[in-house]
């Protein structure tokens, strides 16, 4: 045990502010930063979320409007890859929302990648302690298929869980389908997902790849948000997590996601 490197002392408020500023600077300049995990005490997810929170407060003050949350690290393979056993969350802002079919400059997101997901929109607040699955189901207004354009402000996507949490869960933009479906009659566990890039399959999966069911992921998020004092509200969009592997994109690509029972959604990438 003598060879084990001692964990750094608890990360200070000043350090957290500095690291948060570093990420904001990366967003502004388009130049990625080095991983920040080494500056945090071992496994210190609280400090990572504190960094995210500093930036959330900063951006909200700047006028960005919060419209929902995203859940990340929902697949077993990604959790294994990052050595974690839990998902994470990030903030969705109104300026990140695209319409079905919109063209988006590739440069709007740093190191963009794409994922096919199920998005839920709430019609009730979820502010009770330990939200149950039935409460979650009752709170869902409608479901749409979605593309998440994730990105990373960390160099070469060299991330561990602390890096992605601090970096708003590697969020970028999100594209929602516009044919809302009711939950009743939908099988979100077995729904098939195909993502195509200019007609070539680049990702396949099903609802079960997202913590067993996208609704399970949503319950985790609802409980976590209550625990941190920022409960989900009516109208919030929940990006519940990828149903298959991430895909890469290049200028000129068109990405289409089809989820059986939910329909399809697409976006085009400009230079």
């Amino acid at each position: 045990m003598s060879t084990t490197k001692a964990a750094p002392a608890k990360t200070t408020t000043a350090q957290i502010k500095a690291l948060a500023e570093g990420i904001r600077k990366a967003v502004e300049t388009g130049v990625a930063v080095k991983p920040i995990r080494d500056a945090l005490s071992e496994r210190d997810l609280d400090a990572a979320y504190a960094i995210q929170r500093v930036n959330t407060q900063y951006w909200v003050k700047q006028g960005r409007r919060l419209v929902g949350r995203k859940i990340g690290l929902t697949s077993k393979s990604v959790q294994t890859q990052l050595g974690v056993d839990q998902p994470d969350y990030g903030m969705l802002y109104a300026d990140m929302a695209l319409c079905d079919g919109d063209e988006v400059p590739l440069s709007r997101v740093m190191q963009p990648k794409v994922e096919g997901e199920v998005a839920l929109v709430l019609e009730r607040d979820l502010d009770a302690e330990h939200i149950t699955i039935s409460e979650l189901i009752s709170a869902v207004a409608y479901v749409v298929p979605a593309i998440e354009i994730v990105g990373s402000r960390i160099e070469n996507w060299n991330i561990k869980i602390q890096d992605t949490i601090a970096d708003n869960a590697s969020s970028g933009l999100f594209v929602l389908g516009n044919e809302p479906r009711k939950l009743a009659g939908l099988d979100l566990r077995l729904c098939g997902m195909v993502m195509e890039r200019r007609g070539d399959q680049i990702s396949l999966g099903a609802g079960a790849a997202c913590l067993g069911n996208p609704l399970n992921a949503a319950v985790w998020l609802a409980r976590t948000m209550v625990a941190v004092g920022a409960p989900l509200k009516a109208g919030d969009v929940l990006m519940t997590g990828a149903l298959g592997p991430m895909g890469t994109v290049a200028p000129g690509d068109v990405i289409e996601v089809r989820i059986a029972g939910l329909g399809s959604v697409r976006t085009a990438f400009g230079a």
Binding site: K76, D187, C191, G192, A206, A260
Partner: protein, 255 residues
């Protein structure tokens, strides 16, 4: 060089005794046409013992796998009645060398099919579709083989199980699926993993049927090919595969 008949006997014995053998291609040179002839003769030995021909299986139907293996076409094998496993019943592990399982979709034909056909003609010949699993079990040591080896070995096919039969009128191009061992998901995917649309596999099967001079017959089953990677089986495993809208199929790997 050994004649094709003796190679067919070698493979038939390996399958009967669940005994792995060395790759035929290590000792012999044979073409793909020879490989299909060996397969035909080896299955004929089985049929001569009383196992009826019940259909066709397609292999290498995943585009990713084809590209990965540098292949440009699928391969196929023959299904016989002694390969049928019963839904929910035990699967005798000892009858296999090193079995693996993969999730598939099965077509039940109501009309014969042969030759170059359109997807619409293929669909018009389908009586029903079912969630299915195929047990693949290469007769070669360590599951290692060249393309002609695996073709001669009936495309590794050794067992199959079908679940509830459904109308083919529903859109089965992108049905989600979960295959689990003892309740834990081991493969998650979609029928879109089969050539982008499983019907393309049936179109290809009709083309292969013509090459072989053996029409696909009414009442036959065509196994469309793996929708995901295969998983190795171990005794004491309850294997289940659920497919969106079509239902569940399962078997128990006995000791």
């Amino acid at each position: 060089m050994s004649d094709l008949q003796s190679l067919a006997v070698t493979l038939d014995n390996a399958a009967q005794n669940a005994q792995a053998i060395a790759q035929l291609s290590h000792a012999e040179q044979f073409s793909m046409a020879d490989a299909y002839e060996i397969q035909k003769r080896s299955i004929a030995l089985r049929v001569a013992r009383g196992a009826k021909r019940v259909g066709m299986k397609m292999g290498f139907t995943s585009r990713a796998k084809m590209i990965q293996m540098g292949l440009f076409d699928m391969i196929w094998g023959r299904l016989t009645a002694d390969m049928v496993l019963e839904d929910g019943a035990p699967m005798p592990f000892k009858k296999y060398v090193h079995p693996r399982v993969e999730p598939e979709i099965a077509f039940l034909l109501k009309k014969p099919l042969i030759g170059s056909i359109t997807p619409m003609q293929a669909l018009a010949a389908v009586e029903a579709i079912a969630p299915a699993m195929e047990v693949i079990d290469s007769r070669y040591a360590n599951f290692k083989f060249a393309l002609n080896d695996v073709v001669a070995d009936n495309a590794s096919s050794s067992g199959f199980v079908t679940g509830p039969w459904n109308s083919p009128t529903l859109d089965f191009s992108n049905l989600g699926l979960v295959m689990s061992f003892n309740g834990r998901p081991v493969q998650i995917g979609s029928t879109a993993g089969i050539l982008g649309h499983p019907l393309r596999s049936l179109v290809a099967a009709a083309r292969f049927a013509e090459e072989a001079g053996e029409p696909l017959e009414a009442g036959w089953i065509v196994m469309a090919g793996g929708a995901t990677a295969a998983e190795a089986l171990k005794p004491g495993t309850w294997v289940e595969m659920e497919m969106q809208s079509l239902g569940r199929v399962a078997f128990n790997v006995a000791a």
